[in-house]
Symmetry: C2
Subunit: 214 residues, 2 copies
């Protein structure tokens, strides 16, 4: 296979110039590599319904939610850590792709695919930063700390808001039902009781308005 | 003008359901409003050259750079504050639009447009958070603190990396020259001497390769 056919969609047109400082060179190459997160599409659509959202935009939106909604965290959280976790939490999807939460077959294989992606992605960084970012990702996935539980709650709430704002969006397109949504959203209560209550209210309202099947 | 013709591109299809807690309602309405940042297009293209980057992706990318490049900050910075500043710094462009840095006419009017946008945007939040976010934005704009100088350095470096990675991208499209780039990038040295040195190296290399006019 020649170089041109190896270059999939999302590859930079050219690599960055080499620099004497190999640590800085690795960091900048990683920063360029993660540009690909902007091309990983999600099922959620923008609130105006114009197009699918991508993982980079989603991650920014979650980070803004962490800045604004910290007061509703169930336990005390370190907002700086929550921000870092949210910025990093979807990076593995650069290689593993986005998995639709209601696709049970894909979900079963998701963990293995994402671990393989993490093994490929994070070692591109200098060792200390590879360890730091992988550890934030593992913490987010394990949901055993207050920071991770709150971060996960925001990650669940955000597409719900977009689905509602688009008048049912990917719920109607994929035949998702209220009970599926509530089962999937249930973990939000571990991170924020107040946001979980808001979600049950929003889901009830979505059913009444026909944005979501009962 | 009826409601339908007032709704510009980017308006949510439907508003979020009302909730009894008016503070939470304002916060969530703001979170939905800033979804529009995903539709503010910049001149820079993604590294694979596929399309223009938007402000939300750009903000996420800068935040990742702050996580990874903090060690190069000229003065000690509070990464948590730098992150918040970067997440927020382009929000005013939801109403003011993106201003191309080499468009001198637009740049002259930019400050007034962005102040008007800030007056419209931030008061949509509860008062304490409106003050907090506006103050972060003002600090970024004024560039008088170490956090702001470093944040600004990253904001300058990021499109440079994308322009190089696309083999000249918006430089060639808009007839930008090396001296313009270096004049615009000069402020990076206030935030990070190491990153400024990298920039001069990258610009020299871009000229040699024909990505940028001498």
């Amino acid at each position: 296979m020649d170089a041109a056919s190896q270059a999939g969609p999302g590859e930079p047109v050219v690599a960055l110039p080499s620099v004497a400082d190999s640590r800085l060179a690795r960091q900048l190459a990683f920063i360029l590599e993660i540009d690909k997160l902007k091309s990983v599409l999600r099922r959620s659509h923008l609130a105006d319904g114009s197009r699918a959202e991508n993982d980079a935009e989603h991650s920014w939106h979650l980070a803004m939610m962490a800045v604004l909604l910290g007061e509703y965290a169930e336990e005390e959280v370190d907002t700086g850590r929550v921000l870092r976790m949210l910025l990093v939490h979807d990076l593995v999807e650069i290689y593993a792709g986005d998995t639709f939460v209601y696709d049970t077959t894909a979900i079963a294989e998701q963990e293995a695919r994402e671990r393989a992606a993490a093994d490929r992605l994070f070692p591109q960084l200098p060792r200390d930063q590879a360890v730091q970012l992988r550890s934030l990702w593992e913490e987010f996935e394990a949901r055993r700390t207050p920071d991770a539980r709150f971060a996960r709650a925001l990650d669940r709430l955000q597409p719900l808001i977009l689905n509602y704002a688009t008048g049912g969006g990917s719920w109607l397109a994929h035949g998702v039902r209220a009970e599926d949504v509530l089962a999937h959203q249930r973990v939000v209560s571990e991170g924020s009781q107040a946001l979980w209550e808001y979600i049950t209210h929003l889901v009830g309202d979505a059913v009444r308005r026909g944005y979501l099947a009962a």
